[in-house]
Amino acid sequence: MPIKVLKPGLATTVQDLGRPGYYHIGIPLSGGMDRHALAAANLLVGNEEGAAVLEAVFMGPELEFTDDALVAVTGAELPPKLDGAPRETWTGFKVKRGQKLSFDFLKQGARAYIAIAGGIDVPVVLGSRSTYALGALGGFKGRKIEAGDELPIGTSAAPVKEGRSIAKELRGMPAGKPTELRAMPGLYWHRLTETAGSGFFSDTWKVAPEADRIGYRFKGGKPLEFVPREPPFGAGSDPSNITDACYPYGSIQVPGGTEPIVLHRDAVSGGGYFMVGTVIAADMDLIGQLQPNTPVKFVKVGMEQALAARHDRAGLLARLRSSLA
C-alpha cells in the first residue's frame, strides 16, 4: 500500500546507495549524500542497508500512511511528529494506517533520511532506485516528490521491533567548529602559487547558499593566485581553465580562483575548471549535513591518513550494525 505525499518538503528525493558504472557517459552515482545515516535508517526498520529511502533537505515532507508501517528518521535533527505528537530521531517507531507523519523545524544538520520498512519500491533503473534529477532519471518519475504523489512501498523482509535506537557516538554527524574536511592536494594543485596553496588550507571558508546534491560551494577565503602560463590549446583563456576533463567525486574546483566547489553525488562528470585536490571519501557524508553559512576548514592529508580515516568510518558503521544485532 502506497504512502501519500501531502506536502513534499523543499527537495525530497528517493535515494539508495547509488548507481556506479555510468560516470563515463555523464550519469553520476547519485544516492544518499550521507550514506552512514541512510544505512542507519534502513537498519532501524529491518531493511537492507541500501534500500531506497527519502532524503529530505532542510525541511521535511508531510506523508499519509495507507497501511501500518515501521519508520525511522536519521541524519539531520529534523524532529518527526506523528499526528502532531513528537517522535525521536534515530529510533524506529510504528505508524498506524491513516496516520500522518510531519516534521518540526530543522535543529541541526541538513539532510534527514526517512526509512520505511520494506523500502520505497520505485523501479530499479541502471541498477539503482536513486533519483538523478538533472537527468530526469530513477527515483519517483525522475524528480523530487510532489504533493499528490503516491510512493509504492515494498514488503518487509525481516520485521523488527520498534524502539531500537542508535547511540549518539555512532551517528557520525559533523562535530566541532569549524567543521574540518580532510582533503588530498593534487590534480591541478601545481597551478597555484605557493602562497595561494597554503592560504587555501589556512583560510576559514563558509558554505555558500549554492549547495546542493551536485556540489557544495564555499566562500570567504582569499582568492587564489595562479602560476602564470601560456593557455594550452583547448583549455580557454582564464587561468582557472583546463582542457575539459573528468571530475572526481569530492574534487575541489575553483572557477576563477574565487569560490571552491566540492562535487558530490549528483556531480557533473567533467568540465573545464582546474581542481586543487579532493575531499577524502570518509568525509563526504559530513558535507551532506552542512547548512549554508557553516564555517569549514580544509585540512591537508596524504593517502595514508585518507585510508586510515576510511578504515575508521567503516569501523563506525560496523559498530552501529553490531549495536542493533
Binding site: 580557454g236 582542457t243 575539459d244 568540465g271
Partner: protein, 291 residues
C-alpha cells in the same frame, strides 16, 4: 606526450595525457581506458576517457592505491605501441542553425555575453574571421567532428572538429553562465562543440538545435531503447544543416516513433587522416551516404 598521474582522493586516479587538446591525446586516452576495461582489474568501478585525459575510480578496500597506480602506468606505457586505428560509427545529426528557440534564449541572457548587440552566431563568425553567419555555418558543418568525451550531464557529447588546428573554430564561453539552455541545443565553447542532452544551465555559445533526441531516460525512442544515451567516446558526428520545414518534419517523425537516424559503422585511421585530412573526410562522408 608524458602522462601525468595524480590521486583524486583515496578513490580516483586522474591521468592527464596532455595539457592541450589533440586527436593524438584523445586516442591515447581512449586506448588506455579500453585496455583498463579489458584488463578487468578487481576493484575498478568507473573508467572514464576524456578529451586529453582519463580517470579511473577504484575501491581502495579491494586494490591498494599504489598497486592501482602501478597497473595503470603499465597499461598507459604499453598502449604507446598501438596502431591508431579504431572501429567506430559515423552519425549524421540534422541541425536547424539560427533557430527560434536558442535565439529567444540568447536574447534573454544577452547581458551575460561578450557581444550584447549581436547573436552568438554573428559573434562566432566575426571572431573566427568569417564574413557571414552562412560562412560560419558552412565552416561548422562541412567537416566531421570526433566525440572526444561524453559527460558533464547524462549523454552530453563534447565534439572536436576534424580539421587542421589553424582551421578549428574557437569561441569563448559566455562571460557568466546562463541558467537556461534549450534541450538539444548545439553549443560551442573553446574548441569544443556539444549537444545539450537535457535542458539546463550552460555557458557555451548557442548555434542551433537538432530535432534528434540523444538521451532518453524512459527509453521509449526507438534508437535509444537498447541504451538511453546515444553517444560513446570515439563516435564521429557529421552535422547536416536543415531548414525549418525539415526540422518540423523530423520532430513529427521522432514523436511518431518513425525517425531513423543515419548511423554507419566505419574504421578510422589517425595516420591516414593526418596524411590528407580533406580527402579522408570526404571518404567518411561517402560511408555515411553509401547505399
Amino acid at each position: 606526450m608524458q602522462t601525468r598521474f595524480s590521486f583524486g582522493g583515496d578513490e580516483h586516479i586522474f591521468a592527464e595525457v596532455d595539457e592541450s587538446m589533440s586527436l593524438e591525446a584523445f586516442f591515447k586516452s581512449l586506448f588506455v581506458t579500453n585496455a583498463v576495461r579489458d584488463a578487468k582489474i578487481k576493484g575498478v568501478t568507473e573508467i572514464c576517457p576524456a578529451n586529453a585525459s582519463y580517470q579511473i575510480k577504484f575501491d581502495p578496500d579491494q586494490i591498494k592505491p599504489d598497486d592501482m597506480l602501478a597497473e595503470l602506468k603499465r597499461l598507459d606505457s604499453s598502449t604507446e605501441k598501438s596502431e591508431p586505428v579504431i572501429k567506430t560509427r559515423i552519425i549524421e545529426i540534422p541541425v536547424l542553425y539560427n533557430d527560434p528557440w536558442t535565439h529567444e534564449t540568447l536574447m534573454r541572457f544577452r547581458e551575460r555575453h561578450q557581444d550584447p548587440d549581436g547573436t552568438d552566431l554573428e559573434y562566432a563568425a566575426r571572431i573566427n574571421n568569417l564574413d557571414s553567419v552562412d560562412a560560419f555555418v558552412k565552416a561548422h558543418s562541412s567537416a566531421p567532428w570526433f566525440v572526444s568525451m561524453v559527460g558533464f550531464v547524462a549523454g552530453l557529447p563534447f565534439l572536436y572538429q576534424m580539421v587542421e588546428r589553424k582551421r578549428q573554430l574557437q569561441a569563448p564561453k559566455y562571460l557568466r553562465p546562463r541558467t537556461d539552455t534549450p534541450r538539444l541545443t548545439v553549443g560551442h565553447g573553446g574548441c569544443f562543440s556539444c549537444i545539450y542532452s537535457v535542458r539546463g544551465a550552460g555557458g557555451y555559445q548557442m548555434f542551433g538545435i537538432t530535432p534528434m533526441p540523444i538521451y532518453d531516460p524512459n527509453q521509449k525512442i526507438s534508437y535509444l531503447r537498447d541504451f538511453m544515451c546515444l553517444f560513446r567516446p570515439g563516435d564521429i558526428v557529421k552535422w547536416k544543416p536543415i531548414d525549418r520545414a525539415a526540422y518540423d518534419a523530423a520532430v513529427e517523425d521522432v514523436d511518431a516513433g518513425r525517425f531513423v537516424p543515419v548511423i554507419r559503422d566505419v574504421s578510422f585511421s589517425l595516420t591516414e587522416f593526418n596524411n590528407d585530412i580533406d580527402a579522408y573526410n570526404r571518404k567518411l562522408e561517402g560511408v555515411l551516404h553509401a547505399h
